[in-house]
């Protein structure tokens, strides 16, 4: 029988010498990586069955290594243990809230660690051979198929299922009965808010388990309404986030600018920064008492007025290097909405049947004046684009194209 493989990511190999011996004695094959990027490279070449990573690794810390791993659909369920010497209970609970399978306190007790690893490897083996999991489900990347797409698919198929989503260091679930969303869970969020937040996840992985579950209906809205709301929110979320630095950026309060007049909402949000002084933008959204879109709007306003200041990478609390995990956000992040926004602005017109908004009045007046000037140049003849075919001819063309 093949030996199971354990990858340990630890900056000081001496610290895991005893553990390594214990694991090898228990029948495991063990490799050690000294930093995050090395661990990532070994994941590809060594194909571990479990990863045990130190919280504070050089170059890419443990939580970010976890995030990188979880963003790979094929590895979304790979058992992952974080290890550290966190002193307070709060710190340990925070570590456990990440999408890890276990947290171990250092220094390691080799026997306890081997026992926990045995247990996780056994669970993973069971999961892989469970018929429900293996034959009656599917998984993939949220970049290719968002929660909206998944819910549409399951609604059409009238399926009963559990959708598990992983995004960065978060894991959430959506419960569906006969194609209708009945419940959702993410951290300690209220059901509806949990679902709405997961609608905004455009990166990460999903796994759909087509199976019965025991959740009852706690959402009153129909799935169709939820999907419609999800699409709107996703679009608005992308619009807002494209006007901000990557949401993983760490910000603090610019003292001088913060003395400017602030709304109650803005003050409430800045209060979150009082304790630690700096936070990731995404954490500000998630910890805020407001709806996610509202929170992001308030953050955008604060950022545009320079009340929030992005810390350079060297000041980030986690490490000093620009993290590989942020590359995808830079790569495609701003392209979609920026271009569409440009298209909106460039047309200088409103969608059909919508009244002009007050702040656009000047722009509309300028456009009308332009048109009048142009008409005068053309001896008063309006420059209307005429339709040279009649309605029945256009209908014929439509029939031909359908």
């Amino acid at each position: 029988m093949d030996r199971k493989k354990i990858l340990i990511a630890e900056k000081d190999p001496k610290e895991v010498l005893e553990l390594r011996k214990a694991l090898v004695a228990a029948g495991y094959e063990v490799r050690i990586a000294a930093n995050g990027p090395e661990a990532l490279a070994l994941v590809e070449s060594f194909h571990p069955d479990l990863i045990l990573a130190e919280m504070r690794l050089p170059q890419m810390d443990g939580p970010h290594l976890l995030q990188e791993i979880r963003n790979l659909p094929a590895l979304q369920w790979l058992p992952f243990i974080l290890a550290g010497s966190l002193k307070t209970l709060d710190e340990r609970v925070s570590a456990m809230k990440l999408a890890v399978d276990d947290y171990l306190q250092k220094p390691f007790d080799p026997d306890e660690t081997v026992a926990r690893i045995d247990s996780l490897i056994r669970e993973a083996g069971l999961r892989a051979t469970t018929p429900d999991r293996q034959a009656r489900g599917f998984g993939g990347s949220l970049g290719e198929m968002s929660l909206v797409d998944l819910l549409q698919t399951l609604e059409v198929g009238n399926k009963t299922a559990v959708v598990r989503l992983r995004h960065a260091d978060k894991e959430g679930s959506v419960f569906i009965i006969d194609g209708q969303v009945v419940d959702a869970a993410l951290d300690n969020l209220e059901t509806r808010r949990a679902l709405l937040r997961m609608f905004t996840w455009t990166e990460g992985a999903f796994h759909v388990e087509i199976r019965m579950h025991d959740r009852s209906r706690s959402l009153t809205a129909s799935t169709r309404d939820l999907i419609s709301e999800g699409m709107t929110r996703l679009y608005r979320w992308e619009q807002l986030s494209n006007q901000l630095p990557p949401l993983q950026s760490v910000v603090n309060v610019n003292g001088e600018a913060a003395r400017a007049k602030l709304t109650d909402e803005e003050k409430g949000l800045l209060q979150l920064l009082r304790k630690n002084g700096s936070k990731r933008l995404i954490d500000l959204v998630e910890e805020s008492q407001y709806d996610d879109l509202r929170a992001l709007t308030v953050i955008k306003n604060l950022y545009e007025r320079h009340v929030l200041k992005v810390l350079p990478w060297t000041e980030n609390p986690n490490n000093g290097e620009p993290r590989a995990v942020l590359k995808p956000l830079h790569k495609n992040g701003h392209l979609a909405s920026d271009l569409i926004n440009d298209a909106f602005q460039a047309t200088l017109k409103k969608p059909a049947n919508s009244a002009p908004r007050p702040h656009d009045r000047r722009r509309v007046e300028r456009r009308q004046e332009d048109r009048r000037k142009h008409d005068r140049r053309r001896d008063g003849q309006p420059d209307k684009n005429r339709i040279f075919l009649n309605k029945s001819e256009l209908i014929l063309i439509r029939e031909k194209l359908l």
């Binding site: 909206v148 797409d149 455009t202 392209l335 047309t347 017109k349 309605k391 194209l401």
Partner: protein
Amino acid sequence: MRIGEIAILGPNNEEKRLFIQSVCQKIELANETITFGCLPINDQLVLHLYGVALEPGAPQVAWDLLAGKCLGYILLFPWQDAGSFERLKPVLDQLASRYEATMVVAAHVANGKAPVPPALYENGITVAAEGKFMFCDVRQPDSARKILLALIETLLDKMS
């Protein structure tokens, strides 16, 4: 014979040529300024598609003449090239602000892979009273025809 004329404007001749070929199956004429194709609807009605170059250095098109002549416009640009959209913007401004021109802004995405939500890719968005922003793959006849269909439907809406 009744003729409906549609202009396809864009910074990349190759994409316009592929678009016209996808819709009409055949290119009738192609030079540095115009790519031309015909789509017969019946023996009395035909659509003429003109691909007009917006390349730097290409002969300038007389917008005043074109704007009153065509049924509508398809503004085509490659989604992956933000610069190409910049070159298209003045034309878009002009058509939208000076003429009540019916148009569809079409972003070409090779193999249908766009970094946008699938729902947006499928349905596009309305960017003006007479215009939509949509995605397509110019190599796929169905996808190219979807853009033309959106233009015809906008014209029908306008007539109603």
